[in-house]
């Protein structure tokens, strides 16, 4: 295939994300000087519960992805591996542990200024991914601070009755989490703030993202999955009105693109879906390669998830729970994620919805070597996609933040084979 210098036409609003995230992490670094407590969160976490209490918090995965996007991951991975963390542990963990070891030992100067954060006053860990509580446990030991863990049941039984029992189990633990937060911040919990975040800000962002995703289903795509993934950070962590404004701008921009006939990739020939997290260190390279080969990476649950029925259920149906109980909503939000759902559920709500909604020609399933959560079941998923939907799928073996497991030529070859498969079906 010709390696033309063709590029994705990125949405302009994402230019502001870097500054937004820089400010977000600078605020974490400066939090202690402003009298704010700091919490490091591993796993899908109810950040809103911490933000509501004015606790500076961040998702450690996001921080590691940030390090890897800056191509600086190996420095911190080397630190963690040198201390005994095996390469088979999640690479997000190894990066974060590397950062944590420097900070905890008073060697902040060895952390690049961009990645500096204040040490935690306490840790939160949620086990939607089982590795996350072990990661949190390592942070607890490294910093010698309290930790609170959320136990998230796996939903083997997709029946509503059993599912609601699981939400209740999570909610019951969140009541204890409130007590933990009160104890560690030394003041009563700010329920008004939590309600404002949950019922106003999060709902607004959710609705905006759903509207954006709906518009992006059109052909040609007005915004790619690359933009959607870059825009995930603010959506998942930063519970401020600035994020609402960001998504309002994004919505305006995609609407304008539709009006003016602007495509994310002019001349798109193949529409692919991406499943899984992304090799963050290779976003630029992969987007250029795909653009040069007329491949529009149009969608995927990791980024465009706002448009799926799965994500719509981040807010429970009317009449569920006690109506205006924010903890029920938080529990629902944490418990409904695909991480704790069956293959059948994931196929239905995280694959089929996107294949059909975006009229996808082929699917890339990213299998990160050090991430079991995304890797497991992918061979079977690829087979199911081919048999159920009649489109090819390929499993791309790499890693989310450990570039040693990413071989560009091998990934290119797999994508080329996928495109050949699409061509053969189209002909």
């Amino acid at each position: 295939m010709a390696a033309e210098q063709k590029r994705y036409n990125r949405v302009r609003c994402t230019d502001g994300i870097s500054a937004m995230m820089d400010k977000f992490y600078k605020d974490i670094l400066n939090a202690p000087s402003q009298g704010r407590k700091v919490c490091w969160c591993s796993g899908a976490s109810p950040y809103e519960m911490l933000t509501a209490q004015n606790v500076a918090n961040f998702q450690t995965e996001n921080h590691s992805a940030r390090v890897s996007s800056g191509q600086d991951h190996m420095y911190y991975i080397d630190k963690a591996e040198g201390e005994g963390w095996p390469p088979d542990t999640c690479s997000y963990t190894r990066i974060n542990v590397g950062v944590a070891l420097f900070i905890a030992r008073g060697e902040m100067d060895k952390v690049h200024p961009k990645y500096r954060v204040a040490p935690p006053d306490f840790i939160f860990a949620g086990n939607t991914c089982p590795a996350m509580t072990q990661w949190g446990e390592s942070l607890r030991r490294i910093f010698d601070v309290p930790m609170w863990e959320l136990d998230c049941p796996f939903n083997y039984d997709d029946s509503d009755e059993r599912y609601l029992e699981n939400v209740k189990y999570i909610r019951s633990q969140l009541e204890d989490f409130v007590i933990f937060i009160e104890k560690n911040t030394g003041r009563s919990y700010n329920w008004d703030s939590l309600k404002d975040i949950v019922f106003r800000r999060m709902r607004q962002v959710q609705q905006l993202r759903a509207e954006i995703a709906e518009i992006c289903k059109g052909k040609p795509a007005v915004m790619s999955q690359f933009d959607a993934m870059i825009a995930m950070g603010p959506a998942h962590m930063v519970r401020t009105d600035a994020v609402t404004e960001f998504y309002k701008k994004m919505l305006e921009e995609v609407k304008e693109r539709v009006k003016n006939g602007v495509a994310a990739l002019p001349g798109e020939r193949y529409r692919l879906m991406w499943r899984g997290n992304f090799p963050w260190y290779a976003v630029g390279r992969m987007s250029r390669w795909m653009a040069a080969n007329d491949i529009c990476l149009a969608t995927g649950a990791y980024g465009m998830g706002a448009g799926s029925p799965h994500a719509n259920r981040l807010f429970p149906p009317d009449g569920f729970g006690t109506g205006d109980d924010p903890l029920t909503f938080v529990a629902w939000n944490v418990g409904t994620r695909g991480y704790t759902r069956t293959l059948e559920f994931k196929m239905r709500e995280e694959v089929e919805e996107f294949i059909k909604g975006w009229d996808i020609d082929g699917v890339c399933l990213h299998s990160p070597r050090s991430c079991r959560l995304w890797s497991m079941q992918e061979y079977d998923m690829a087979n199911l996609i081919e048999t159920k939907y009649g489109i090819p799928a390929t499993v791309i073996e790499a890693d989310h933040t450990d570039s040693r497991y990413y071989t560009p030529s091998s990934v290119d070859l797999k994508l080329q084979a996928l495109i050949e498969g699409i061509k053969a079906r189209k002909e």
Binding site: E83, G84, W85, P86, D88, T89, C90, T93, N127, C129, P130, A131, T133, Q134, W135, E137, S138, R140, R141, M147, E149, D151, P153, F154, Y156, E165, Y169, S172, Q173, D176, T342, L343, E344, S367, R369, R372, L373, S375, M376, Q377, E378, Y379, D380, L384, V395, E397
Partner: protein, 380 residues
Amino acid sequence: MDVWSELVTVTSQPYYERLKKGKEDAAKKIIGCFGLYVPEEMIHALGMLPVVLFCGPEPITLGDLHWQAYMCSPVRGITDLACKGQLDFLDGMVIHDCCHEIRGSVDVLKLSAPNLRSVIKPMWFPKILKRKQTKPRIMEELNIFRDWLQQVAGQEMTAESLQRSIQVYNENRDLLIKLYDIRRSKPGILSAKQVQHIVLAGMQMPKEEHNELLKKLLAELASTKAPKDNSVKIVLHGSLCNEVPGNILDIIEQVGGTVVDDDLYVGSRYFVTKAPLLIDPLEALADRYINMIPPCPTTQNPSNDLGQYLVNMANRSGPSGVINIITKFCEAHCHIYPWIRYALRDAGIPELLIETEHGVTSFAPVKTRIQTFVEMIRGE
């Protein structure tokens, strides 16, 4: 037949081959147990045989159609056996969700082994052990599990029968604890491989029969003198849901080491925690899980530290070294490993890490490393 011959009869051939043959002339239903904490007593209480599932000795082929090579071998190996129809003799297969891969294997097995699809039963226990929500939630899961088992067995489980089964299992645990006491007090009286055979046999045969064999064996060992021993004492830890390759156990002894204690799955991790005797036997099983003695990296209980547990075990055995055996790609074990290493180092206990992988572990370099480790402890 002497005790040892009887035990070897159980473990010398792949368990599925032996059980398939036995199944032809026995009415007893067999329930496969995959994952760490299946409450086997409940299966036993309904007159069925619980069998802990392991990989077979042959190379993994069909399993690799469903799992990447960087997934752990227990999951790839069980999938392989299931795809080849080797587990079709099971009347039920309980999968205890104790880690990512085993969790994911539920759906993979349902897809890849059609004959097992209708008999697979996943179960989930809380992972955070010391919380007010933990026990009620485990009780819910145990009740669901009991309903399923009763359907498979076609009969009701009574509190009395479960109580009896708990007693049988606790007796088995007591006997194995005694066996380990003897091994500690008479180093070298049993080889590490023999001990693994003994524990493994109990995981795959009726507990009552295993108890009888253990009683005979203990009587023999009581009158056996300890061999003269100037070898280096070794404590083994790891292989959290599979066997230690027999070659590694042999190597330790070949180079002058003696395994005096272990924290292995096919070892003390399996039996060291007894169920309390309570009025409600289901509650006793919940308590057994919550109060497990060996700290498990798949659960959270900060007051029960695995590193300290191993330090205590090594100290109880006198001056010794600890060999950590990690099954390659066991994420749960990898995450806790640095803290085990720190704890042993801080206690001045020599430590060695060996990674094993089904069918591809190269034993020559392993031998060199173990030999060096043993010589280092001996001060040569």
